[in-house]
């Protein structure tokens, strides 16, 4: 490759490109470094583990900070949202790729694009004024009344039926991350060579059997990568969750009651944090969030790259 770029202008051009492109690398490195620096006051005071596992978050009286409630909240909310959205999203992808007539598939693709484009605050707005009150009155109150009468042991698990809490946040989040799983699954299904389908059909397989035996196993990597990407989105989703989750870090969390996640506590408290230690603790939460999200994204990238090689190998 050295001989390719020996022209003087080419060398300058390539260096200029490289210099600017390294901005991407710098951005990632800066983010890790600055978040660590910004959070170092809190991280040093409580220790990394002490901070991550501390259950107390009290900026007012004890001035003690532990991120555990937020980590736990993030894990519960994002995993439940993924679980809830995975099969509908996969169904949408299968439907668009194999079952739907062309025009309907286009409508579905358009809706998927749209879903990813609707701003988080708009979902949150709907959550505050429509979904949360509806869930409180139609789902949580009746369930709570029933449990209070027939199964009192259930009451502490259900919690206070306020409408603004875990349940609503998970529902909204689940619908917001559908396009990430669906789009990657759809692309992976479309990439499966036609011969695979034809071979299976020639053996007398039904449409579903073709899907299950000839297509899904090959598309598996793309589908899993899509799930990881959706998880990454769910972990970092801020506004819609903040608007409906009730923002309470009181453990233990209940199904109906308020909770909080790592992004939601940053969004909520950052502009009100006057003390250095409080501000630093919030940035330290951001530092933890950075690494969680990095890990999930790396996992997605790894699975996706392996899948690309697999499909190329089959072709």
């Amino acid at each position: 490759m050295k001989r390719l770029y020996t022209h003087f202008g080419d060398r300058i051009f390539a260096w200029a490109l490289l210099l600017l492109a390294l901005g991407v690398v710098a951005l990632a490195v800066l983010m890790a470094y600055e978040l660590y620096q910004g959070g170092s006051l809190a991280l040093k005071r409580f220790g990394l583990l002490g901070f991550a596992l501390g259950r107390e978050w009290d900026p007012v009286i004890q001035k003690s900070f532990g991120a555990w409630p937020y980590i736990l909240g993030t894990v519960i909310v994002s995993l439940s949202a993924l679980l809830l959205s995975f099969f509908p999203a996969l169904a949408a992808a299968i439907f668009a790729a194999e079952y739907a007539p062309r025009w309907l598939a286009q409508v579905i693709n358009f809706l998927l694009d749209l879903m990813a484009a609707v701003p988080s605050v708009v979902y949150g707005l709907w959550g505050i004024f429509v979904l949360a009150p509806w869930i409180r009155d139609q789902v949580q109150l009746p369930l709570y009344m029933w449990a209070a009468e027939h199964a009192p042991w259930l009451v502490p698990i259900l919690g206070v039926p306020t409408g603004y809490g875990l349940m609503t946040a998970v529902l909204i989040l689940a619908s917001m991350i559908v396009p990430y799983t669906a789009a990657l699954a759809r692309d992976a299904i479309a990439l499966v060579p036609k011969e695979h389908r034809e071979a299976a059909y020639a053996l007398g397989a039904t449409r579903w059997e073709v899907m299950r035996m000839a297509i899904l196993p090959l598309a598996q990597g793309g589908i899993i990568a899509g799930a990881f990407l959706a998880l990454a989105r769910a972990v970092g989703e801020t506004m819609a969750v903040t608007m409906v989750i009730g923002n309470s870090h009181k453990l233990p969390y209940t199904l109906f009651g308020g909770a909080a996640t790592m992004p939601s506590v940053i969004a909520n408290e950052f502009t009100e944090a006057v003390e250095d230690l409080h501000l630093s603790a919030l940035i330290a939460v951001g530092f933890l969030l950075f690494w969680v999200s990095m890990a999930v994204n790396f996992a997605a990238a790894y699975v996706l790259r392996r899948q690309e090689r697999l499909v190329k190998g089959v072709l």
Binding site: L18, L20, V24, L27, Y99, V118, P119, V122, A232
Partner: protein, 264 residues
């Protein structure tokens, strides 16, 4: 199985359709000419609009795009046109990773790098937050578009004795123009809807502000502030803001589709 797949598909889109229906019905009622021509009013007074937020969105997002363009485009060109450059695997991996980073972290970074040294919230720091967010998006979309340009076009240029940089600047980029514009518009649309990175950078402002060194308002920020406020009239305006925001983003996406309808 068919029925189950259909049911799942319906479930997947249920909430999206409900959100859209509500935004249309609630937002349309609150939307009028004043919404675009007047600034917001204090609570208790009815009327007024969100001119300051609309103008602010365009300024902050536009500045952010200017900040992101050189870095994003350069990274994309490097990835597509110098396929065996040694930094490429890392560049690609980091772009993908940053693409999935929580938007609020870009806000934290802009806060630390710009708000703190400058001593206060500003539209400019918000622009940096959105710019950071757009860089990896632009890098990947540029790479994708450039890799669609037929090899023959590059070979033709090289066969004429053009150096590689001239081939890229005069042949490859103009050929891919429509696709590049699409990618830029989509990045713009994505950033236009973000509120999280702006909470502690652009911060928001109740009056029209054209100086990017002062706090500025944007539609998502204002929508959030109105939605969690206790005032009926502000709730109405929040729906209108949602509808306008949604319209702005749909318009940009449609424009992007229209720009890319011609293939090479």
């Amino acid at each position: 199985m068919m029925a189950l797949v259909g049911l799942g598909t319906g479930l997947a889109f249920l909430i999206l359709l409900l959100v859209l229906a509500y935004a249309l019905s609630q937002g349309a009622g609150a939307l009028n000419l004043d919404f675009f021509l007047k600034d917001m009013r204090p609570p208790g007074e009815t009327g007024g609009g969100l001119r300051q937020a609309i103008v602010g969105t365009l300024i902050v997002d536009g500045l952010g795009l200017l900040i992101a363009l050189p870095f994003g485009l350069a990274a994309g060109i490097l990835l597509a046109e110098y396929p065996d450059h040694p930094v490429n695997p890392y560049l690609r991996l980091l772009s993908d990773t940053l693409n999935g980073m929580p938007a609020i972290l870009f806000g934290l970074l802009a806060f630390i790098l710009i708000v703190k040294p400058m001593g206060g919230f500003s539209g400019l720091s918000g622009a940096f937050a959105l710019g950071f967010l757009m860089i990896p998006i632009l890098a990947r979309s540029t790479e994708g578009v450039l890799s669609l340009v037929p090899k023959e076009i590059r070979e033709a240029g090289l066969a004429l004795g053009l150096p590689r940089w001239r081939v890229i600047l005069s042949l490859v980029l103009p050929t891919a123009r429509a696709g590049l514009i699409t990618g830029i518009l989509l990045a713009f649309a994505r950033a236009a809807g973000e509120a999280a990175p702006l909470l502690f950078t652009a911060f928001g402002s109740p009056l029209l502000e054209l100086n990017p060194l002062k706090p500025m308002d944007t539609l998502p920020l204002r929508l959030f502030a109105f939605a969690i406020s206790p005032y009926e009239d502000w709730h109405r305006q929040a729906w209108a803001a949602g509808l306008v925001l949604f319209g702005l983003i749909t318009l940009t996406s449609l424009l992007a589709r229209w720009a890319s309808r011609r293939r090479f």
